[in-house]
């Protein structure tokens, strides 16, 4: 069967146009543009899903003024590379995912994905995942952070996470008493 060349080209053009519509362009706070699979974005982020459904996606780059380029690159990387193996954000319990949510242990690649991040990058990614309503990514990043906290005292945690101790001695004593932890060490 002979294929009409002109028709073939038209087909190509249509395919390209279709491929264009399969992605969403996101713009970081510092003006960098990132392409992300529309399907993956809608599936992994409740906020992007809402924007896509509501037609508030800008072809020239949807402004995400709250997210820096490094964090957005990680978000997009997470979506594009691994979209197929991640459960839909809608499937994971909405609101904030606490310890009652059915947390699935991070997959090997997810572990590697967060392990390579610096503390600052991890912080920015948690913030971005929280902002975009990406439950699974938030779960995985928070899991990583909780591992970093394990076995540490409040002092050590403050040091690792660059937190100032804003408690007075009296306040600390008050909290200890509220919890009634007489630590009967002896």
């Amino acid at each position: 069967m002979e294929v009409d060349k002109g028709k073939g080209e038209a087909e190509e053009t249509r395919k390209v146009a279709e491929a264009d519509r399969d992605t969403v362009t996101l713009k970081s706070s510092d003006g960098k543009l990132f392409e992300v699979s529309k399907e993956a974005a809608a599936r992994l982020s409740t906020v992007l899903a809402g924007m896509i459904a509501g037609g508030s996606i800008d072809d020239n780059g949807t402004d995400l003024k709250q997210i820096g380029s490094e964090a957005l690159e990680n978000v997009v990387d997470y979506c594009n590379k691994h979209a197929n193996s991640i459960p839909s954000a809608a499937l994971i319990s909405s609101s904030i995912s606490f310890n009652t949510a059915p947390f699935k242990e991070p997959e090997e690649w997810e572990r590697k994905f967060v392990d390579r991040l610096s503390h600052d990058a991890l912080f920015d990614l948690v913030e971005a995942a929280n902002f975009l309503g990406m439950e699974r990514l938030l779960d995985v990043t928070c899991h990583k952070i909780s591992e970093m906290m394990k076995g540490k005292s409040p002092d050590q945690i403050r040091e690792v996470f660059n937190i100032k101790n804003d408690y007075t001695k009296e306040e600390l004593e008050e909290i200890r008493q509220e919890l009634a932890w007489a630590f009967y060490d002896d």
């Binding site: 904030i96 906290m149 409040p154 660059n162 101790n165 909290i175 009634a180 932890w181």
Partner: protein, 209 residues
């Protein structure tokens, strides 16, 4: 290219490092929620004011599992009460080892209308009376498990007592009373097992399929 001075470098480092008390509360609560109840109470709450605020978000306390053989039993009891208070009525799942008392069960039952699952392990301080009161106050319970709780439904648990549990909690789906050696699973008792999907009784006289 000019090399930065030591002073400049340290300034840059400080400026670049994020202050983790500045995460949005919801994100911070997600982070802290990955810790166990005792770590939230004894460590995360003491880091700074913002972390304490996040550690008080009620959703964090829907599930409370307390197991620590190194902490005084009364201190654990006190902390369990704080956990119940922080849950603001949202507690769904409670598991405790050793420290639980009748009084704590009453405290939980009075404040936890959403309670669905209770697991007690080696809680010698819980009596049949305390347990019965919990069961009577929490008809929405779906899962109950007692292991090595000598004074509850222990070796003396009778058919009547089990019937009381079954009648009190019509939503019960999972019941584990593996230490109740006195139970005789007869037709009368079996007829009450209607809604239960999983039941563990002492092996010797257990429910044969």
């Amino acid at each position: 290219m000019d090399a930065p001075t030591v002073g400049d470098m340290s300034a840059t480092v400080v400026a670049a490092a994020r202050d983790w008390s500045e995460l949005p509360l919801a994100a911070l609560a997600s982070v802290i929620g990955k810790l166990g109840a005792l770590d939230i109470l004894m460590v995360a709450s003491l880091v700074c004011h913002t972390w304490l605020e996040a550690a008080k978000v009620p959703e964090l306390w829907r599930s409370v599992l307390m197991v620590n053989p190194k902490i005084n039993l009364d201190a654990l009891c006190a902390m369990a009460k704080v956990a119940v208070d922080r849950s603001a009525g949202q507690l769904k799942y409670f598991a405790g080892e050793q420290f639980v008392t009748d009084e704590l069960l009453k405290y939980i039952a009075d404040r936890s209308p959403a309670l669905k699952v209770v697991l007690l392990v080696s809680c010698e301080r819980v009596s049949n009376d305390g347990f019965s009161k919990l069961v009577a106050k929490c008809p929405q319970l779906e899962e109950l498990a007692l292991a090595f709780c000598e004074n509850v439904c222990g070796r003396d648990c009778t058919n009547d007592e089990l019937a009381f549990v079954l009648d009190s909690c019509p939503h019960l789906k999972d019941l584990n009373l593996r230490d109740c050696f006195q139970l005789v699973v007869d037709h009368v008792l079996r007829a009450r097992f209607g809604g239960i999907k999983s039941m563990t009784l002492p092996r010797a006289r257990g429910l044969n399929p």
